[in-house]
């Protein structure tokens, strides 16, 4: 038996395999957009042929972090804002794993914003799903980094004086090689985008609009939504950074004017992933590092033999 025989296991996968017996029913509020992310993942993973035991899902803290309790894979429910550094190290340690990170807009664009920018810049081969509901849900309705200017809450009683974060533009500028936005109310598109994101060889960022019926009634249901690929009103080249940037800008402005634009915004299939870049400069082994610890024939190097003579 090999060390990690779940990896590359070619078999039929049942969607139910991803449903844990301990907590099969999520405790998100009725009507919450988070259900759609869970559903899209349960649909996408069998389709891309990734079993629960070759998938590592890393989440942050918040309603979105509960995803780990409802999607049965190897999981790491980390701390607020830090899913990305944990996830990308796991990918470096074992590139054969399917690594998915997920968190909310506060988690990813607020407290973890620095990690988001740098993980995108490095272009790790992983998927990052941000549950964007423009609110802090689990802590009961405070203004979040994506809440629109003027948003009133108990912590911003006079209305937020801040411009919201523009996640798509930020992602593109930071260096993500796949940037998309989908919405909970558009399950078919969501599934397709998650599949593309998982299959993309690089950092795939999906800004997933997940309505919060409890704390963010203003944002309603993110309807009506428009798919920018399907609508005849929009025509731009997703491989062109300038056109992508313009479309993102329009999308981010339109959201707060009641127009929900979604779809693929930027796709760069040519840029090598970070792992490939590191291997090319000799800073990462070709074989997964995690395998080495199980290789009985591996001759572990000693500092005594390799590095000490220069000190003599």
């Amino acid at each position: 038996m090999s060390t990690f025989s779940a990896i590359g296991d070619e078999r039929e996968i049942d969607r139910d395999e991803y449903t844990p017996s301990v907590e099969p029913q999520p405790t998100w509020c009725p009507g919450c957009g988070d259900f759609s992310v869970l559903k899209a993942l349960k649909q996408a993973l069998p389709e891309v042929g990734r079993t629960p035991e070759e998938t590592l899902l890393c989440t942050g803290i918040g309603c979105s972090g509960k995803l780990n309790s409802y999607l049965d894979t190897y999981g790491f429910h980390t701390i607020h804002g830090r899913s990305l550094p944990v996830a990308r190290a796991a990918k470096l340690a074992n590139p054969d794993l399917e690594v998915i990170a997920a968190g909310g807009d506060g988690d990813g664009y607020g407290i973890g914003g620095n990690h988001f920018i740098h993980t995108a810049r490095e272009n790790h081969d992983m998927t990052y799903i941000v549950f964007n509901n423009e609110i802090f849900g689990l802590t009961k309705g405070q203004t979040s980094p994506t809440s629109p200017k003027g948003h009133k809450s108990k912590t911003q009683p006079h209305g937020s004086a801040k411009e919201p974060i523009k996640p798509l533009s930020m992602s593109l500028n930071a260096g993500a090689s796949y940037v998309a936005r989908t919405a909970a109310v558009n399950p078919n598109q969501a599934k397709e985008i998650i599949i593309e994101a998982i299959e993309h060889d690089g950092f795939a960022h999906v800004d997933f609009l997940t309505q919060c019926p409890t704390w963010n009634k203003d944002a309603r249901q993110y309807v009506p939504y428009i798919d920018v690929q399907e609508s005849e009103d929009y025509d731009f080249d997703t491989t062109d950074k300038v056109e992508a940037a313009e479309m993102m800008r329009e999308t981010e402005e339109a959201l707060h004017e009641g127009k929900v634009l979604t779809g693929r915004y930027y796709v760069d299939d040519d840029r090598p992933s970070y792992g490939a870049e590191k291997q090319a400069i000799g800073e990462m082994p070709e074989e997964p590092l995690a395998e080495r610890y199980w290789d009985d024939d591996y001759e572990w190097e000693r500092s005594h033999d390799m590095f000490l003579d220069k000190h003599a």
């Binding site: 038996m1 060390t3 990690f4 025989s5 779940a6 990896i7 296991d9 844990p20 017996s21 301990v22 035991e53 070759e54 803290i61 780990n68 309790s69 049965d72 894979t73 190897y74 999981g75 790491f76 429910h77 980390t78 701390i79 830090r82 990305l84 550094p85 944990v86 996830a87 990308r88 190290a89 796991a90 990918k91 470096l92 340690a93 074992n94 794993l97 620095n114 990690h115 920018i117 740098h118 000799g282 800073e283 990462m284 082994p285 074989e287 590092l289 995690a290 080495r292 610890y293 199980w294 572990w300 190097e301 000693r302 500092s303 005594h304 390799m306 590095f307 000490l308 000190h311 003599a312």
Partner: protein, 631 residues
């Protein structure tokens, strides 16, 4: 103070090549058969500012900086700030000479570069020379180097002059230069070395050097190594192949050494956006089945508090190193202190479940780096290696054989897929990663990608499968199990012999210390016994779990104990009292927190003043005495 020693201090400006020149000279002395120990002093400044390195060399073993020094090579600060600014900064150019005079011993030698320095600008210089019986050799090192093509070679000229004045043969220095210097600069450097040597020898008739180089012999190959080197090699020999970090003085040394070596070993180093990420990456890599580390110094380590707590709660093995410098906040970035002890022991929310080791010497740094990895992986617990700018940067000779040990890449209680199949699982196939009743509290783990090993790691309290759980029974069972690991680790450490004892067993008095002050304290203990004072010392390395039994036995066996540490608030003494629960009336403190480590004489004088004379007034030193409770 041994008479038969050379303590050579080379001083100049930051950026003048003081560190590399001193390192080469120390190595030459080591190769000549001597024991060496270096001490660095440098400002937190990019270019310029007074810096020096001391090289102490003796036929006897040396484990500390000395008391003062006896040979000064003052090169002048070539990056001194605009002389017009003198009103603000003072004359910076002259500082490599003027700032070093206070610690020069009577009868010592001064060589200074008169091409750059004018001794007449130093108030009362001639009087002080006469008073202290110093031997002064003004040499135009810069002029000589300029004549021979490159001004930077004045360092080499200074070494040539040193050899001539101390009666040291040039061959070891020449051999080293051949090893260390690229072809292009080697020839002119060899030439200037010899020229300076000959000029000094001819100009001054040196039959009996004022201060001479002792002679010694090693019976086996020696290595010149720093604490940072030793920590890095210990990590490598334990199979660590992943490091993540963010630069910060003085931790950067370990990060750099690992980063340069890991690619040669098929390992991975990541320089990341901040220390939160750095520690989180180490946790992520370890979770995925690789032996991983991170580290920082005070401020950066503060950012690691959260990932550290996550490693505790998820029982992810990880080693963090913490290179202390003087705090609080940015403090004094290039100066040693031991005042992060409490920070490292207690930072992060909840009841701490971690291991903290503080090695005392370069040899221990290697050994305890290995122990840190072994404990982290065997017991699935974050382990912190606590050291400081002093231990990290000082160099000493260590026999090569010390490192001739087998590698240990094992991951600890990590199951193969075959073994996983026999372990308890839930109905849906979830592996019970966090079982309640297991030996030593260590629940075996699986690695993502393994069939039959699926589980959830979470920073929330969790049940055996990792699922978030808040039931009181489970909570108590999990906390008790995780705590049980620390008890097992204490027993384990008892077999590792990490403590260091010096002095007669039946001594009347005791000195307790921890970490990098150990060597200095041990030298002081030897001198005190030579002077007829019966005292022994115990250098403690295990900060958590604390060796309560051993420390209690030590304290119990003597009349009074002086606790020596580089903190202002007596943190180590507090830790001793916290763990022992009594003996407050027996423990007094000798503290130093001025940015410089103790000299042996400061410990000797401080001990005599505090314990023997009882008033604690050690005049002339910048140390602080804090009496025992009730005194």
């Amino acid at each position: 103070m041994t008479d038969d020693e050379l303590i050579w201090r080379i001083s100049g400006g930051s950026g003048d090549g003081i560190a590399s020149t001193s390192q080469n000279f120390a190595k030459a002395l080591m190769r000549s058969g001597l024991n060496v120990f270096t001490h660095r002093h440098y400002p937190s400044r990019i270019r310029g500012g007074h810096t020096y390195t001391e090289v102490r060399a003796s036929a006897d073993p040396v484990e500390s900086r000395g008391d003062g020094y006896n040979f000064l090579l003052a090169l002048g600060d070539s990056f001194a700030r605009n002389p017009q600014e003198e009103a603000v900064y003072g004359n910076e150019e002259i500082k490599p000479l003027s700032e070093n005079l206070d610690e020069l011993r009577e009868g010592g030698v001064i060589v200074y570069d008169e091409g750059l320095l004018d001794a007449s600008e130093i108030p009362d210089f001639d009087e002080r020379v006469e008073e202290n019986d110093w031997h002064v050799y003004p040499l135009d090192l810069r002029g000589l180097a300029r004549d021979m093509g490159r001004e930077v070679m004045r360092n080499t000229a200074g070494v040539g002059a040193t050899c001539a004045l101390t009666g040291m043969e040039l061959d070891h220095v020449e051999d080293l230069m051949r090893d260390a210097m690229p072809e292009k600069i080697l020839e002119p450097n060899l030439e200037i070395l010899e020229t300076a040597y000959n000029q000094v020898s001819e100009e001054y008739d040196i039959d009996a050097p004022d201060v001479s180089v002792p002679t010694g012999e090693h019976d086996e190959t020696q290595l010149l190594m720093s604490g940072s080197d030793a920590i890095s090699y210990g990590a490598i020999d334990e199979g660590c192949r992943f490091i993540a970090g963010y630069p910060m003085t003085p931790w950067t040394e370990v990060f750099t050494i690992m980063t340069q070596n890991l690619p040669k070993l098929g390992g991975i180093s990541e320089q990341v956006e901040d220390e939160i990420a750095a520690a989180a990456l180490a946790v992520g890599a370890s979770h995925a089945g690789v032996k991983a580390m991170s580290g920082s110094s005070g401020g950066g380590f503060a950012l690691m508090s959260e990932p550290l707590g996550l490693a505790e709660m998820t029982e992810t093995p990880v080693v963090l190193v913490e290179a202390m410098r003087a705090g609080p906040s940015t403090g004094m970035p290039t100066k040693p202190e031991q005042s992060d002890l409490e920070h490292v022991l207690y930072t992060s929310q909840g009841d701490s479940q971690r291991v903290v080791l503080a090695p005392g010497t370069v040899e221990e740094a290697y050994e305890q780096s290995r122990i840190a990895f072994r404990l982290a992986y065997e017991y699935q617990i974050p382990t912190i290696l606590l050291y400081d700018q002093k231990l990290g940067g000082e160099m000493k000779n260590v026999p090569k054989s010390h490192f001739d040990r087998e590698p240990n890449p094992t991951l600890g209680k990590t199951l193969s897929e075959d073994a996983l199949a026999d372990e308890p699982h839930s109905g849906d196939g979830k592996f019970h990663r966090f079982q309640h009743d297991v030996e030593d509290g260590v629940s075996p783990r699986s690695i993502p990608g393994q069939k039959g090993g699926r589980f959830l790691a979470t920073g929330n309290e969790h049940d055996p499968t990792g699922h978030i759980a808040e039931s009181p029974d489970n909570r108590v069972a999990q906390i008790d199990r995780r705590t049980q690991k620390l008890e097992a680790i204490r027993d384990d450490l008892d077999g590792e012999d990490t403590g260091s004892y010096t002095g007669p067993e039946d001594a009347e008095y005791g000195i307790l210390t921890f970490g990098s002050q150990q060597g200095t304290v041990e030298e002081a203990v030897e001198r005190l016994n030579d002077a007829g004072i019966s005292v022994k010392s115990y250098g403690v390395s295990d900060m958590l779990p604390f060796p309560t039994e051993q420390v209690e036995a030590f304290v119990e066996s003597v009349d009074e104990v002086l606790v020596v540490e580089m903190t202002a608030s007596g943190q180590f003494r507090g830790l001793v009292q916290k763990n022992l629960g009594r003996y407050g009336e027996k423990l007094s403190s000798l503290l130093k927190y001025n940015g410089n480590p103790f000299e042996p004489a400061e410990v000797v004088d401080g001990f005599e003043a505090a314990i023997v004379e009882g008033d604690g007034d050690a005049s002339g030193h910048q140390t602080t005495f804090v009496p025992a409770a009730g005194d």
